[in-house]
Symmetry: C3
Subunit: 345 residues, 3 copies
């Protein structure tokens, strides 16, 4: 589909510098774009590519426009405008409604006629599937699952009994929502399973990444609020609550009963203990270790980046001897008569 | 199902403080329980909720009973007693025996008539499935897999050829048991695959979490002993052995040929090297890094919790300059004539 | 299948010390091998087992041969030779060609007659499957996927639209290739999805582990070059490029747009930031944190191994007070008149 720059400017409220009748038909990176492509600049590190681009048009902000050698669509949030242009130029293929003849659907399930159920999916008793929902192949919806309007399960998504998914939520392949939480009582050196009788409630406009797992609650429910974005291979323990519009990057694990506020950004590979509380508007950088609550908005980090191994080993050795170093400093302080009464803990 | 407090006390050997004829029918948290609910107190942090609860009855230990404003079931292990009450009040729905017409079963497979095989599951040649086993939908059991009595595969579990699963073991969706271990020989800068000819033997009463992976052995088998509990998204490399009744929390990765003892507790997101040995009764806290063997029981940790990023960055800078700090202290020691002959390595 | 030591020596170019007519028929570890077994020695730590082995023959290098109490196959790369012997003695069962009657294949798909498609697999429109490819059960190949000759999808592999897989590449169960990258624009405190219009191109002779996820590119493609070996539960973000013959161990996460060179070895549980570049021939040890580019070949590490918790807590406390320690040293230096004008930043 080709569209003119003028129409893009009007549709998305941009100022156009360039020829309104020029046509574009796809998106591309600044480096590889040609005259029929739309590119965008959202990060300072790409400034140089901007200056050399041959794109048909570049979406960018006012300050960057001077460096743009081609037509420009100027707006305040180039990334968001570009997202809309991608959706316009590269629409997802529509999938016909209806239930695949190779799906297995329980008699008591209620499936909106506008919904789609893919091959080899299994729909349990009393499941409800809303209008325009798309269930890809190999999905399993146990009894009493409820999908609101427009939910999309790409493929091979497992929703255990009673799980509720809000409108327009998108779940990538391999995700498991509602498996048992990890709850056991210790008795005579063995583990006795505590049946997990809560479920999972996921709000609208959520995205859940590939192979991400969200456990059902032990007694009450695990909650994912509206607009939350979860990347791949995230683990969310039982009875967590993730606040609205929080985004979490891949490989992060969140132990049970932890509550994360709204509008947080949690990096990848973060390890978060259970029963902690994270305030709204907290940013935690990748690979951080969270063992206690974070009660004020801000940016938080831990983790020490790599070094050449021989340097790193020496640093670790120093670290392991810090205690001794402190004692040596104390000895010097005593000798200098400068001992400040510090026992340093 | 409603049950009287008196019957609960008798069944589970508790002392009842309260009206034996009062009825309860579900479990709830201390905060949200009503007069028909059973709650429990197992952690000191919930003491305040206990004092304000409106539960029909609370399961707790003798010391806490004085703070309980409602009926109490007093026992020595409230968490274990509560686990049994949950199982009584919230029984899992029973699933009819039989092989779903949409399953594919090899002619040489032997499936006990009391077992269940779900829709779209694939049962390979010479597979043996014991009494009362439940195979959910989308499971794949390759040739020569053996499931003992009462095994339950919730859904979408893949067991590769020859894998053996002990009685009553429960496997959550997305788990893969018996995929190839990561074994290659380097030759001329390329990797030559070493075929993995061992398999995986899982003992009885094990639980394996959602999307957890356990690799088959290279030559001999990978072993998970009885009563082991594995949370979600755990990776266990080839030829590991996990000792009986050890519990491992989510996102932990264990490299090949590592041997973990019995009755250990391994936290979440622990990274464990290969070829190490962990003794019995070792506790490793979450996010720890294990590069060598741990030969004595005890509690072990590593990892430094997060700080505000600007503070953290300063701490990392100090860490990276520890070497220089040590040299400065040495200089001072020499000046003070107190040099203790310490070269600090 | 039994084979003589003489034939093994000839086939694999080894020097044989021992009786050429002796027969072996399986592989085993040094410890458990019997007279009909082949074992190998590749690591110094197994020297003791070598000296006590009862194997029919041991594959080892010239320096170790003196310690071998049984027949020996001497070669320069025992691990590689052993890999070939395993493949010879334990061939994978061949699977008949053809499309399972319970597979669903789109009319426009082109499947080579020598390929196999397993039960309950779904093959989308315009998919191309090359000669001798094996698609196990429960696989889903969305539209326009291309598999070259000899690709093997063990079971339950999801390849999203347009994904290309090179010849002989092996993908373990649960892997997801081509799910949406994690790309959003922030607008008014919410996240707007950026449609991910790139795909994933995987080269020949790659292995992808169980439950590993590789996201499709945002605009251009995510690339896995030839001979790359990926262990289980690895996450690779959108627009990464992994260089030829690089091996990555389990649970490692690589954020978007990161480029890893050729012939690298990345340990398990490594957390790698986005937009970084790793040179060729870089080795990164397990659990390292990578926040910036690594531009020179070498061995790199981070992460501090565990200690008994009470010791560890003390070390962390010292670390958190490093700033104060530096100030105390500065005070001493001023007192000693030795202040070197160091403000230590």
């Amino acid at each position: 589909m080709a569209i003119s720059l003028g129409e893009l400017a009007v549709r998305f409220g941009c100022e156009l510098r360039g020829e309104p009748d020029a046509l574009v038909e796809r998106v591309a990176t600044l480096t590889n774009a040609d005259a029929r492509s739309v590119a965008f600049l959202a990060e300072e590190r790409n400034r140089r590519q901007l200056m050399e681009t041959r794109a048909g048009v570049v979406v960018l902000d006012r300050e960057s426009a001077a460096d743009c050698p081609t037509a420009a669509l100027i707006c305040s949030n180039p990334r968001a405008t570009f997202a809309r242009i991608v959706a316009l130029l590269h629409p997802a293929p529509t999938q016909a409604a209806g239930i695949h003849p190779n799906a297995v659907v329980a008699p008591s399930a209620r499936i909106d006629p506008s919904a789609r159920v893919g091959a080899f999916s299994v729909i349990g008793e009393r499941v409800e599937i809303g209008a325009d929902a798309v269930i890809g192949p190999h999905c399993s919806l146990e009894q009493d699952v409820k999908l609101a309007q427009g939910v999309r399960l790409v493929a091979r998504v497992t929703l255990c009994h009673g799980v509720q998914i809000g409108a327009r939520t998108l779940i990538q392949p391999g995700a498991v929502v509602g498996a048992d939480g990890f709850g056991f009582a210790r008795e005579d050196g063995q583990w006795l399973k505590i049946p997990q009788v809560g479920t999972v409630r996921v709000g609208p406009d959520v995205e859940i990444g590939a192979n991400t797992t969200i456990d059902r609650g032990a007694i009450e429910d695990t909650i994912i609020e509206e607009g939350v974005k979860l990347d791949n291979q995230i683990q969310i323990g039982h009875n967590c609550r993730i606040g609205a519009h929080t985004a979490i990057a891949g490989c992060t694990g969140i132990s049970g009963s932890t509550v994360i506020g709204k509008h947080c950004m949690i990096g990848g590979a973060v390890a978060m203990a259970g029963h902690v509380t994270i305030a709204d508007h907290v940013i935690i950088t990748g690979n951080a270790m969270v063992t206690g609550s974070v009660l004020r908005p801000g940016v938080y980090s831990s983790g020490i980046p790599l070094e050449e191994s021989h340097v790193w080993r020496r640093q670790v050795a120093r670290f392991k001897r810090l205690d001794r170093l402190v004692k040596r400093v104390q000895t010097l302080e005593r000798g200098a008569g400068s001992a400040q009464g510090e026992d340093d803990e």
